[in-house]
């Protein structure tokens, strides 16, 4: 690593700064969702639609993708080419499974009549989870790019900071979902139980 004034790689400082700004973005989206929760005048309402068992499975998939990311970084730092490629690919695949679940959920909601502008729940729900889904999609593209570098043998221990920065982004996406799962699904769905 080249010498920096902070003693930390500049890429990492940049990513943490970006993550800090993302905290504010998702904080405002979550606050808006909470302010408008249970205020829809027309259905379908959240307690009729949210499928907790299904979303628990996709949440678990995203949590496991974070574990794969940790293993990928460890493999890159050890110079394990095969492990690097495998775990980066597994992380991306789990991310894709999560996205598939989100597409299934959105299309199911749309089929039930919950269009984007249907009510206050639909607007805040699609905006918040859609923003998160877009972040996951960007993360998957990033991971697949790193995977191709690993396959070509261009991701050795000296380039591990690239994977570390991608890992920071991926774990943050996971952390945001931890909050969304609680706030949007468990707290909103509680009314239906």
């Amino acid at each position: 690593m080249e010498r920096t004034s902070t003693g930390v790689a500049n890429e990492k400082v940049l990513m943490w700064t970006f993550i800090g700004s993302e905290c504010m973005l998702f904080g405002s989206l979550i606050a808006t969702f909470l302010a408008y929760r249970d205020r829809s005048l027309v259905g379908p309402f959240e307690e009729e639609l949210l499928n907790i068992p299904f979303i628990t499975v996709t949440t678990f998939v995203l949590l496991m993708s974070s574990l794969m990311m940790v293993l990928a970084l460890s493999a890159v730092q050890r110079g394990d080419r095969r492990g690097s490629g495998l775990f980066l690919l597994l992380t991306a695949v789990l991310g894709l499974i999560f996205l598939g679940g989100q597409v299934f959920e959105f299309s199911h909601f749309a089929h039930e009549g919950l269009g984007l502008g249907r009510n206050l729940f639909s607007g805040t729900f699609y905006l918040t989870t859609g923003f998160h889904g877009a972040h996951v999609a960007i993360g998957v593209i990033w991971l697949l790019t790193l995977w191709t570098l690993a396959l070509r043998g261009r991701l050795g221990p000296e380039k591990s900071v690239k994977v570390e920065v991608a890992g920071l982004y991926w774990h943050f996406v996971d952390v945001v979902w931890i909050v969304l799962f609680t706030v949007i699904y468990l707290m909103s769905g509680a009314a239906a139980v």
Binding site: F26, S28, R37, P53, V175, L186
Partner: protein, 81 residues
């Protein structure tokens, strides 16, 4: 691996308390505590913030502002009642 196991267990606990009617009066604070525990584990261990002390302020500052806004909205809209 141990962190992943704990995260999985906490997620299972969250879903479990969600279905226990007796916990309904304390559901929101309980879910926030469980979710917060998962958050701290991922940020502290997976993102290495426990060790990268020089970078902590870049994350904790904006996070504190976002958390304060969310908690204020929750208090104003009666989520803790």
């Amino acid at each position: 691996m141990a962190i992943a196991l704990v995260l999985g267990v906490i997620t299972a606990l969250e879903v479990m308390v969600f279905y226990v009617e007796a916990l309904a009066p304390v559901l929101v604070p309980l879910l926030l505590v469980l979710s917060g525990a998962k958050f701290v584990l991922v940020v502290g261990f997976y993102m290495h913030l426990k060790y990268d002390t020089s970078l902590r302020g870049l994350f904790v500052g904006p996070l504190a502002i976002a958390a304060a806004i969310i908690l204020a909205i929750m208090a104003l809209y009666g989520y803790f009642l």
